[in-house]
């Protein structure tokens, strides 16, 4: 019944996992001067009109938050609760394949996204990792088929 808490729990679990990884790296490099405290990851968002925006964020930030922090034209109606499809982004093939599978809840929301592709994810459900350095994130085209003559589109 409540999907928000489930998705939030999973996201927090992911964040915790990443933070634990960072902490153990911190512990290991306590006596080195090049200790990794928090890794910044730089990626590029590509807006529907082709405009490219470079964005840098900490590991563990989700892609929707990162987009908003950098004025990328990405919506987020439900504010990251996995209850809408407006933060839909399209990832590189290799990044998409390397991520854990989306949950049923995320897939249910992706079902309704405009311009869904084989490498689509909800931005709020994907957390930055250092492996994503340099990745390119496409925003889907916002065009929608408008049926002026009253014809009905088939089931989405």
């Amino acid at each position: 019944m409540y999907r928000g808490p489930v998705a939030t729990y999973q996201r927090k679990a992911q964040q915790q996992q990443q933070q634990q990884r960072l902490w153990s790296v911190q512990q290991a490099s306590r006596f080195t001067t090049s200790a990794l405290i928090s890794k910044d990851v730089t990626v590029t968002f590509i807006e529907p009109d082709g405009n490219e925006i470079q964005a840098t964020g900490e590991e563990g930030t989700n892609l929707m938050e990162l987009a908003h922090e950098n004025d990328v034209d990405l919506e987020g109606a439900c504010e990251g609760a996995c209850a809408c499809s407006t933060c839909h982004v399209i990832l590189d093939d290799n990044v998409f394949d390397s991520l854990p599978e989306p949950t049923d809840e995320e897939n249910d929301m992706l079902d309704l996204a405009f311009g869904l592709t084989d490498t689509s994810r909800l931005g709020c459900q994907v957390l930055l990792t250092s492996d994503m350095e340099g990745m390119r994130i496409k925003l889907p085209s916002a065009t929608r088929n408008f049926y002026v003559d009253g014809a009905k589109p088939s089931h989405h």
Binding site: M1, A77, E79, C84, T86, D111, H155, H156
Partner: protein
């Protein structure tokens, strides 16, 4: 806000160029939005984002904004309502004014708005619903018959005009819902969820009390076509499978045979394929005695509501078969009938918009006729009049759909505003004052006070808010 632009002008002097300077008053553009729900607010948001000089006045007939986000979205889907954060940002802009408790078409004529503003966007949604059109629908003694799901939802969500709904959930253990959409599923879920689970949501206290005393154990959701023609989405169906100690019943053979018959088409339809997989995984052919059940029934069209011996009433269905291609299947009656004894019957076959005095209306499709958001009358564009949301394209789609739709309308408004004259906001206030709007409206600041009141009232019972469900009470709190 007025600003002045200095324009150099050439004087007609042969040989010698001389420039004199003339000063023109630069006027803001003003847009009126009729209907303060998701469509209205997203239209306003887009106008704010893409312009510097457009003022927006939002008129809403209820004191409270947000429309179906407040009165339609189910109480156990609070995260869906997070979109109101953006709506609040819109209301908080100095270029936006919210006028609640103002019904355009009654105390304020549309003509007045059209002459005062550079553009009027109609986003007043759908406040009626489609009837089944069958004998017995309105009830023999006025008690039973068929209740609109729209009204049931409005009732448990605190819409003031729906609070008088007298729902009998005690006399019988079976409810029939006619319709295969998300609203039907919301109703089924609210009826079958343990009331204690709903106690921490913003469902009204009265509805919660009624549900606590409910004897409803079985809900049957019946539609006229098959599993591949349903209108609901997988998320809502999945939630039914997660209700504890509930048998999810449907005709597994029918699902299997339809999926096999249209396998190739189904493989290409991601969302429907996932939904059929869900059904196949969770549904059983028959329930266990003593357990609550949710039954998804197909291929039945309601023909009559009749009296019954044992149950309060029964509803007669004609059994259908499907003809035609899977994505445009037609339900054709077979001449066989079946009766379902039940208590409450809900009809959930679609909302419907109503006409607004002074605006064109398509009586068949029940929408404002338009081309990509610009209103038309008998095919001709009506300058300065626009539509957004359900009143523009029909009562279908989720909030994300309405967002995109509203953005397209706003883009059309912006394009057309290039030619607009504009006028200072003060000139509009003259008209608003004379119409009594300024004295009877509920402002955004007043709405915020009501919102705080509701939040505080909910605190003692662990709810996010206890909605005020009476308009007079709302007005006395804020004024």
């Amino acid at each position: 806000m007025k600003a002045f632009i200095l324009l150099p002008q050439r004087t007609a002097s042969p040989g010698i160029r001389r420039f004199s300077v003339s000063v023109q008053a630069y006027r803001d553009k003003n847009i009126a939005i009729v209907g303060g729900g998701a469509a209205g607010f997203y239209t306003a948001a887009r106008l704010l984002a893409k312009t510097q000089d457009v003022n927006i006045d939002i008129f809403e007939q209820l004191p409270t904004p947000y429309g179906l986000v407040r009165f339609g979205v189910a109480p156990d889907h609070p995260e869906v309502k997070n979109c109101t954060t953006k709506f609040d940002q819109v209301s908080g802009s100095p270029r936006v004014r919210y006028f609640g408790n103002i019904q355009v078409g009654r105390q304020l004529a549309l003509e007045k708005l059209r002459s005062a503003y550079d553009g009027v966007v109609l986003s007043y949604g759908a406040s009626e619903d489609r009837k089944l059109g069958i004998p017995g629908e309105d009830g023999a003694d006025g008690k039973w018959g068929v209740v609109p799901a729209r009204q049931f939802v409005a009732w448990y969500n605190g819409l003031p005009e729906a609070q008088g709904l007298d729902v009998d959930l005690k006399s019988f253990d079976r409810v029939v819902i006619v319709g295969h959409g998300n609203v039907a599923l919301d109703c089924a879920r609210i009826l079958l969820t343990e009331p204690s689970e709903l106690a921490s949501t913003d469902i009204t206290a009265h509805a919660l009390e009624t549900l606590r005393g409910s004897n409803v154990r079985h809900v049957e959701m019946i539609g006229r076509r098959g599993p591949l023609q349903v209108a609901f989405t997988t998320k809502e169906l999945r939630e039914m499978t997660k209700i504890p100690a509930l048998d999810f019943i449907c005709d597994r053979d029918l699902v299997a045979s339809e999926c096999a018959k249209w396998a190739e088409w189904l493989d290409a339809s991601r969302s429907l394929k996932r939904m059929m997989d869900l059904l196949t995984k969770h549904a059983v052919n028959a329930g266990h005695s003593g357990r609550k059940s949710f039954t998804l029934s197909f291929l039945k069209s309601p023909v009559e509501v009749l009296a019954d011996q044992a149950a309060p009433q029964r509803i007669r269905f004609q059994i259908n078969r499907l003809e035609g291609p899977v994505d445009a299947a037609r339900a054709v009656g077979t001449g066989e009938f079946v009766d379902v004894p039940c208590g409450l019957i809900l009809r959930s076959i679609g909302y419907a918009s109503t006409p607004l005095d002074g605006a064109p209306f398509d009586g068949r499709r029940k929408i404002i006729p338009n081309i990509a958001g610009r209103a038309t009358d008998n095919g001709k564009l009506v300058p300065g009049l626009y539509a957004a949301g359900w009143v523009k394209r029909g009562p279908v789609g989720v909030i994300a759909t309405t967002m995109q739709d509203a953005y397209r309308t706003a883009d059309a408004v912006i394009m057309d505003l290039v030619q607009a004259q504009g006028q200072p906001r003060e000139a509009i206030d003259q008209m608003l004052s004379e119409s009594g709007v300024l004295s009877s409206c509920v402002t955004n600041a007043q709405w915020k006070r009501l919102e705080a009141f509701e939040a505080e009232a909910g605190q003692s019972t662990g709810k996010p808010r206890e909605k005020v469900t009476n308009i007079q009470q709302m007005l006395s709190i804020v004024k």
